[in-house]
C-alpha cells in the first residue's frame, strides 16, 4: 500500500527577509546549519548521486560497499565518515529514510509547508 499523505501542504508564511525592505542590513547575519553538520551534508550528496545506485532500502554503508564491489569507486571519505563513531549525528540511513534507528520521523506525518 503506497504511503498515504495525510495532510495537505500548507501555504508558506510570509518571511520579512524576502520582503521589500529599502535598506539591507550592513552586518551580515551569522549563517547556521540548524539541523545537520558538514559531514551529513557530504553523506546526503552521496545519497543523491545516482552513479552509485538507489539509496532507499539500504544503509549508507551497505550502499557504499555495494558500489565498491561493483568497481564504481565511491569516495573513501564516505566510508571514513560512516565508520567513524565520534559524531553521533552521522546517520546510517539515507536522507529519504522515514525512520531514524527504530523511531519514525515526525516529518513522515506532517508535510512541509
Amino acid at each position: 500500500m503506497p504511503m498515504k499523505k495525510y495532510y495537505r501542504q500548507r501555504k508558506k508564511a510570509a518571511n520579512n527577509r524576502s520582503s521589500k525592505s529599502k535598506k539591507k542590513s550592513k552586518i551580515s547575519r551569522v549563517p547556521c546549519q540548524a539541523e545537520y553538520d558538514p559531514e551529513e551534508e557530504i553523506l546526503r550528496k552521496f545519497d543523491m548521486d545516482m552513479a552509485y545506485g538507489p539509496c532507499v532500502g539500504v544503509t549508507r554503508l551497505e550502499r557504499w560497499e555495494r558500489a565498491q564491489k561493483m568497481g564504481l569507486n565511491p569516495p573513501q571519505e564516505i566510508e571514513r565518515i560512516l565508520k567513524s563513531d565520534k559524531d553521533i549525528k552521522v546517520q546510517q540511513q539515507c536522507l529519504w529514510n522515514k525512520k531514524i534507528g527504530d523511531n519514525y520521523k515526525i516529518i513522515e506525518y506532517y508535510m512541509a509547508a
Binding site: M1, M3, K4, Y6, Y7, R8, Q9, R10, K12, A13, A14, N15, N16, R17, S19, S21, K23, K24, S25, I27, S28, R29, V30, P31, C32, Q33, A34, E35, Y36, K89, K98, K99, I100, D102, N103, Y104, K105, I106, I107, E108, Y109, Y110, M111, A112, A113
Partner: protein, 266 residues
Amino acid sequence: MLELRLVQGSLLKKVLESIRELVNDANFDCSSTGFSLQAMDSSHVALVALLLRSEGFEHYRCDRNMSMGINLNNMSKMLRCAGNDDIVTIKADDGSDTVTFMFESPTQDKISDFEMKLMDIDSEHLGIPEAEYHAIVRMPSAEFARICKDLSSIGDTVVISVTKEGVKFSTKGDIGTANIVCRQNTSVDKPEEATVVEMNEPVSLTFALRYMNSFTKATPLSNTVTISLSNELPVVVEYKIAEMGYVRFYLAPKIEEDEEETKPQA
C-alpha cells in the same frame, strides 16, 4: 519594528527552559497574531510548537511579519539574568541583525538590557492540522513528569495505552517491567488535580522516554498537561500557558518490534 512587553517575564524564562534542551537553534516568528516558534529536534523525531498570543502581552507591536533566528541556549542564558518578577521587553528593528532583551525590576530601580546577534536559520515549517484524537488524557503535569522519570530508570521506551479503565504507562528493561495505571479521577479538591480520560477508541503507542523527559521540562508552565493520542499520529503533549498560548510537543512513535518495514497505516 518589533516591540513586545511582558509583565510576567518569568513566563518567557520558563518557556525557554522548556525547549532549549530539545532544540538548539530556531526561528521565532512574529506576526500580528503573536510570537511563535515551530522547530524539530536534530533527530527529526520530535517537534515543538510554541504560541504566545499578542493579546497576552501588555504591549505588542509587530509592524511586519518577521523571523528571528536565535540560538535558544544563548537566549536562555540572557533570560536567566532576569529576575522572576521582572518585566521583559523584546525589541528588534526591521532589517536589523540583532534583538534586544530588556529586564526591568518591578520597582523600576534596576534595568538591564542584553543584545544578541540573530542567525540565518533555514527551517521548514510543517503543516499540523487540527485533528480528532482517539484519546485525550488530561492530568497533573507534575504527575506525568514523575511517571516519565520513574519509568526511565527501568526502560528506554514507554507504551501508553488508553482504554475505558484509564491510561496505562508501561516499560520494560534489564531489571524487569513496570506498569503505571492512572484512572479517571474528577472528585478532587482542585480542578488541576483531576485526571480526565476521554476515549473515542482504544489506543496503544510506544515512545522513546528520553523525548518525554525533555518535554516534561515544561512542567513549570502549567499545573496540567494534556496528552492527545491517535493510533496513526504523533502524540501531542501540551502545556497551556495561562491567558497566552501553549507549548506543544509532538513525538513520532517508535516502530513496534514485529512491525513490517512499512509506513504508518491509516
